[in-house]
Symmetry: C2
Subunit: 674 residues, 2 copies
Amino acid sequence: MSHADPLVVFTPSGKRGRFAVGTPLLTAARTLGVDIDSVCGGRAICGRCQVLVAEGEFAKHGVRSGAGSLSPWSATEERYASRQPLAPGRRLSCQARIEADVVVDVPSMSQVHRQIVRKAAEAHDIELYPLVKLHYVEVREPDMHDPSGDLQRLEEALAREWQLANLECDLAVLQQLQAILRKGQWTVTVAVHDASRIIAVWPGFHDQAFGLAIDVGSTTIAAHLCDLASGEVVASAGRMNPQIRFGEDLMSRVSYSMMNPGGAAQMTAAARQAISELAAEVAASAGIAPALILEATVVGNPIMHHLLLGIDPVELGGAPFALAIDRAVTVTAAEIGVALHPNARVYALPCIAGHVGADAAGMLLAERPDLTDEITLLVDVGTNAEIVLGNRQRLLACSSPTGPAFEGAQISCGQRAAPGAIERVRIDRDTLEPRFRIIGSDLWSDDPDFGAASAPTGVTGICGSGIIEVIAELFLAGVISRDGVIDGALAARSPRVVASGRTFSYVLHSGAQTLSITQNDVRAIQLAKAALLAGIRLLMDRLGVEQVDRIRLAGAFGSHIDVKYAAVLGMLPDCDLSRVTSAGNAAGTGARIALLDSRSRATIEALVHRVEKIETAIEPQFQAHFVDAMAIPHRTAEYPQLRKVVDLPAPQPVATSAQGRGRRGRRPASPHPV
Amino acid sequence: MSHADPLVVFTPSGKRGRFAVGTPLLTAARTLGVDIDSVCGGRAICGRCQVLVAEGEFAKHGVRSGAGSLSPWSATEERYASRQPLAPGRRLSCQARIEADVVVDVPSMSQVHRQIVRKAAEAHDIELYPLVKLHYVEVREPDMHDPSGDLQRLEEALAREWQLANLECDLAVLQQLQAILRKGQWTVTVAVHDASRIIAVWPGFHDQAFGLAIDVGSTTIAAHLCDLASGEVVASAGRMNPQIRFGEDLMSRVSYSMMNPGGAAQMTAAARQAISELAAEVAASAGIAPALILEATVVGNPIMHHLLLGIDPVELGGAPFALAIDRAVTVTAAEIGVALHPNARVYALPCIAGHVGADAAGMLLAERPDLTDEITLLVDVGTNAEIVLGNRQRLLACSSPTGPAFEGAQISCGQRAAPGAIERVRIDRDTLEPRFRIIGSDLWSDDPDFGAASAPTGVTGICGSGIIEVIAELFLAGVISRDGVIDGALAARSPRVVASGRTFSYVLHSGAQTLSITQNDVRAIQLAKAALLAGIRLLMDRLGVEQVDRIRLAGAFGSHIDVKYAAVLGMLPDCDLSRVTSAGNAAGTGARIALLDSRSRATIEALVHRVEKIETAIEPQFQAHFVDAMAIPHRTAEYPQLRKVVDLPAPQPVATSAQGRGRRGRRPASPHPV
């Protein structure tokens, strides 16, 4: 190029250069390293390289740009536009040639590495760097004078047109290649994984490639189908984890495996089958074939992770809780029998430790506490709470055996979150009368229309968030003492407080079904929250901090609880409540990030390596913290920030009872239930 | 080390160095890069590191060496020797420590990269560089204070003890790893492929690893089981290729695939099944489990190669004869459904061109014509002859459509080589009376005891070498003219020459069965040998040579024919007969070399790339050569070297008949039968 050549400026990158008249814009963009997408390689087929000419005088660039800056609208573009819509002013950069100075805007949809904006204010955007890319090529026909394999000529085309060298090729592709090349009359589109391996091939032009982010929870499995070109989630679905029939919680599944030869294999098959069905379901809602899913990522706790990969989780059921592998694993869909494209690579995020799984790694990736100086506490509450604490300097992680009480299990009238379940509770401080709301209705129970509104389901039980609220409200109303005892003396004041053997209960609802909070229910929640807080305190000790700057609650639980009540119960350390927020399904988001931004895989692998792993089962301090945390909200902690917004009873001494020890002794077979 | 330290000299390498007193010999050897084997890593378990102390004064080395040069026989060695024999004077180099100057001999069996001596005089020895190596390690137990995956601790041990870093691990290994580590009480032996991937694992110490060299012919499949530690063939077996039920020759198998949906898959399954059975058979004769076969190599013609890999060979059935892939392919045994260790890597040698397969590549590797200045002709005669010509400077290859006549097919009384088949024939120049020998008997038919000796089978037909001999003898006796006509005038002189329609036959044998050589039989052999010689001549033209220095005949055919008669018929160009030799099963040998010396894979891949591929079907010269080669031995060539040893009739003009054209026109459906 010379100084007489036209100047081309690309926005928003600002990259600029002079090019000879007649140079296609796409060529100029490539030369300058401007990020413009293309599948067809400049043949005006894919339309991914669309750009917009900026009109006017651009003093900043010293350029006057306009319609005349480029070659006129060509017959090729006309043909493209006749097949699919092309917005006004848009040109195909592979066809439009430079005639004079020009400012060219590359819209987001034409960028390979576009930003995917996440809704939540605290979330970082995802930059699109998919591992799988589609490349359309024209392949030289075989020539007897120069015999070579069809694959070699395909690779020659990929090297020539896409600078892809030294490619491997999956056997299944090789097996179909000859027929597909001929069907496409020597034009094909190939899917290349990580610029190193041909994993799929279609005759002619093809521009659909999808990825699946999979979140294997012990209760539910969720899958998000993403378009790898746009990064958008095009369909999501979830279903119960069918492993539930082998055991409700993780430990019972491990037991099932121990007691039944082939039990682990049964659970493996069940999870894989469920994922295949989910893939079919999301593919159907997006109107695509599951075989167009060319990449997948998986998060899950260590037991789910191991079972999915076909590894017996028995070692995770007892000390020393040894993982089979603690780094990321990549397998093919065919290897693990999941019905995506058989050559789709499935990337399982790394597990952090025996109780801190790839789901916690996903949470880390979604939240990136390592990017801030603020001391951040991440909590994913399940039957095991996974806890991460730290900031840019250090990150610590542990898990804590909360058990399933927060999910409504082990509670006399508890149930899973479903229509009919009580989710919000308020108790009058004077009358001790309750009012509540159920899932599926916006009305409070003291609303005259509540009966009609709740009729479809009735009031069926109390879900996790409802239990937390009712116990916190009972505490705030003085019905429950700091050490968790339902005050029987109040039976005189309210018919709601009733004797039940040697202890008392609080009757929350009397209808078709009577829903009461028993002393045992309170104990179950105390045990669970004490375990959670003890784990958090342990990490705070290790990090040497007395308080945290922000708390992010991940998972369904985190999305549904009212953080105020969680704080009142003492589930969490004291914190400005405005800094306690839901992180949504952070593990699933992490899977989606690993799917869409391949660079993030190295990030999370390094991050997981950096995390200091704390094993609560062998930390003497855990037991002391546990005992202190049995009190509501805590035996000694003052909760000054919480007191600013909630009228907490004044701190008073609480007996350091044997309750805590009871917790640990409950399950002799499993010293550390997971 | 200082100058005062003892001097250690290892033989036969001559490597030497000074080491501190007390240094184990194995450590000294490793430091010097002396090739000493070890699986157990110096724990006196495997016994692979045995050495012998040389006794005496070694003036050359300036060393006096003897029993006292090393630490005394240790309890550990005693323990080893109590379990398995240790030859007198042998020490375990991992246990014996240096005390004074010493000369240590490393016997061949203690070397990793030992030479495997090939019997044939012309053959290069094989140097042992197996891809799969066994490593015994002690793995750190899991520790809750420092949680890590079992795989990471295994890899840590492999890095520490064997300097193996960045290993991948097959999923099937990961799935078994935890149970095996515990079964072996934290000691395991792993099989590492190419210093980069863990493919198998056993509890405790394990020292057996085998490889399988597979030769997939269209008629037979053969397999050779090799001990990867010694390089020795420990068992071999062969069986008919079960694909024969889909078509006797290659072209009919391709037709079967074209005419029957799923036909290719049926043939693929049949070949894989046969290989699995062969693997089981050789494993059983060696007394090992097939799962101990951790590596395999495959040779075969392009159609066999493609079918085995699950690639429909339809494109190889017609011009332009496009291969799916022309480079080497590595797959797992599981991927192609062959019952070895499922993670065994199966390496298919590269095909050279559409008709010149991985079997020719194997032949190249076994013969290495590129290492000599002599112009070497390699011929593998099957239904298609694969021909390679050249030397250090250039290599050319083609295939020629000889058809199955040389194997006894298309011959009126032809049969496969089997007991009862005539394999040697002599015809009296005066009486025209024949005498012959059959397979299974050493007696000639004019021996008084022949009848008794041949009684078990009788005289059943003529095999390939017999047909060549009888036609050559008939030619030398003047019964057949240079242009291949059976001289009816001789009917007057001998009752053996009889009219048969408009042509004549020669009665070779009258017994329970009459075996005659018909005019059509002579034509079939003329067509086959003309095709072979035309292919050879074409390569000679291209290389610009008038004669070749040596000829190597590969395959069963090459082992059985008498080269003199092949020369008389004009199957081969003129050559000093002492330089025409059998190369044995060169393709199978090539597979074995690729199995045992992994470095040879790069060699053959580069060599195949270098070979100039000639497609006879599109070479105008081929037709001219074909016509000239119809004459016996040739229309114009003088065969001066042959004349020195055989009384050939004087050259006389032969009509350039239309016979050649007839050959090419015979199969309109397949312009180039393979």
